[in-house]
Symmetry: C2
Subunit: 393 residues, 2 copies
């Protein structure tokens, strides 16, 4: 397998394909990503299992909801409980009883979004204080590779430098230069057996820098590629325009991952622009705060108008919250801070995004993505994303 993936990651693939494109519709793509723990039909939404658990959801339930791949956070797992312990206990899949594919991020996004904890960024790596105990810590591309090797994820992400959207052009450029240098180093580092490695481009929405970064990362020979440093607070139209012209710069035969989007409209927009994978904490975070994603828009269950509402969260939704419970009951649970309320809302929200993504895939396969998206946006009219929510991964 090591050989296979060296081949896959190399510039002259000769063996099995990691990614098979099965249909295209305009820029939108349907495909199958093959990993050591199974195939992932794309487009794919990845629920986020931050600390080795998708918040409030049992892994068996996640599978029932239709989850095909989970995300785990290297930053958090490195500090608690530590990759050595997870390795000792058989790796992340075994640790969290999820036998399907897992993608781990590199920790870069957490380090750089916890900006106040950074003490220095140098060519070798980034020095910061852990949010867990304030102790000095350091991430390098080699360590990001090693942590993910020990976690044993199916897809490891490169350590990137993810600046805030308001930095100077000089800073943004420095971030892309470092991101490329680190990507090359991480690609050369040992990986777990069968583990794929994805590169990440930076450059914000700056046309020149994003293009340069995307081309540099694409040229390194990764198994897949991510657009990083977007959906971090910048103007959404500009962000989507950036996706539209930069996604095609990525190799068509490799999967494309947009990091950190999970509102229904945002998913449709990036899929239309050729993105295959995306992740977000939105569905579980909304669930824990008492809100539901529905075709009527977001419902805040605390609202008094649901007090006597006999309807399910979302008419026609086959999830076990919608087929068994009324909005009135869920509102009661949310208002009484009953844990079952946030569990059920989280289940429904994850299912909503998984179903939306699966439906998008079906529409691409039928060559009807355009009309599917138009109809979906019409229905979702009142479900506009709330600023900032999709940022928090």
């Amino acid at each position: 397998m090591r050989t296979l993936h060296a081949t896959c990651a190399g510039t002259a693939p000769t063996g099995e394909m990691t990614f098979e494109l099965t249909a295209t519709d305009g820029a939108a793509r349907a495909g199958i990503l093959r990993t050591a723990h199974g195939d992932v039909p794309t487009p794919a939404f990845m629920p986020v299992g931050t600390k080795g658990s998708v918040k409030a959801l049992d892994p068996a339930r996640l599978r029932e909801l239709g989850t095909t791949i989970l995300l785990g956070n290297t930053y958090h797992l490195h500090f608690r409980p530590g990759e050595e312990l997870i390795d000792e206990l058989g790796g992340l899949h075994s640790f969290m009883a999820w036998e399907g594919p897992i993608l781990t991020d590199s920790g870069g996004f957490q380090v750089f979004s916890l900006r106040d904890t950074i003490s220095a960024v140098d060519p070798e790596g980034v020095t910061f204080r852990s949010v867990y105990d304030g102790r000095a810590a350091r991430f390098t591309p080699e360590l990001a590779a090693e942590i993910q090797r020990l976690l044993g994820s199916d897809i490891a992400m490169c350590l990137d430098v993810c600046p805030s959207p308001d930095v100077s052009r000089a800073e943004l450029e420095a971030a892309t230069v470092l991101t490329t240098a680190w990507a090359a180093r991480q690609l050369a580092a040992p990986r777990a057996e069968g583990q794929l490695v994805f590169g990440i481009s930076q450059g914000g929405t700056d046309p020149d820098l994003r293009r340069r970064s995307t081309e540099e990362i694409s040229g390194l020979g990764f198994d897949g590629h991510a657009l990083g440093g977007l959906s971090v607070g910048e103007d959404r139209d500009v962000m989507l325009e950036t996706v539209a012209w930069s996604a095609p710069l990525l190799p068509a035969e490799r999967p494309r991952y947009f990091m950190g989007i999970g509102d229904p409209i945002g998913i449709l927009e990036v899929v239309e622009r050729g993105i295959d994978m995306f992740d977000c904490v939105l569905p579980t975070r909304l669930g824990r705060t008492g809100s539901a994603l529905t075709w009527e828009g977001r419902l805040n269950l605390k609202n008094a108008r649901f007090a006597r509402d006999r309807r399910p969260l979302d008419e026609g939704c086959p999830c076990s919250a919608c087929t068994r419970f009324t909005r009135a009951y869920l509102r009661h649970l949310v208002n009484q801070q009953e844990l079952l309320g946030l569990i059920l809302l989280s289940e429904h929200n994850v299912r909503f995004l998984l179903d939306l993504t699966a439906d998008a895939r079906g529409a691409i396969e039928r060559g009807e993505f355009g009309s599917f998206k138009t109809a979906a946006l019409d229905r979702l009219g009142s479900a506009a994303p709330v600023a900032g929510e999709e940022v928090s991964r």
Copy 2:
């Protein structure tokens, strides 16, 4: 059904039996309690669904764990969301998507354990301030019957006066007198179709008062009987002695319910003394605070000794927490305050008590309860109950 239950509750039953005794072993009993929503094999442990949800547990999961009957709290449901709303939405079973039997308490225990909120106890009822908003509220036997009628529970409990264990004998006596008078009034009040009504005896551990109360309540013709006002902080040996001599005063052909016990040893002790049903928040409360009930005793998962422990919570336990997860993982979840941790611990703990109770039933049927209990106590040696925990219903 109305006629049937009038018959069952009367002094000259002629129709179907509500309770069938299938085996006895010393004072211990095995039986079947028949309710409008199904049969309950006894002895039966009842998980507590305080506000229309057993904390953190999906009703479908509860069924899988082996739950045969749930308890709901009249006090809480009366104030939030209110029995009229629940009735409008089809009753408590439909509201919470639990199609099995439900027993509702009367609210008496909550009112009297929230002692500081009581403004007056008079022959007609008790006046108090709601813990939800401080507003004046009043419970009478008739209201307790009416709330439970609207909730539509399978078993309604009588409004009783439950004093603290340190009251004067005069106060204790007054409580028993009022409890009997209220029981007679509640028995005469309308009930839901098919609803059984259980009386409750008081009298603390005072031999004379407990005997008098038990005989008075037994004489009224209820469908079942509870020992109330025990397990509220009194000496445990005296409490068990009281159960030993007062349970036989209750009609043998009706079910006997001990209110508020759920530690493993306590369950075995009351079953041995002829109790058929019991309830406690202990398993879910322990789960939410990171502790597990096991045959090795209670495990506090926060303990560092579990950090690298590959074993399941309880060797041989078939629950989905024990068959999938290590103590090390559960400790990680608990320490990181991941909701999945308390969900899994709650599931395991409920299952532990359900399995223990089912095993006790099997032992009674085989005429081996004595040796079963001895062996269980040996194994549970380090699992001594923590004072006070079993009190909180």
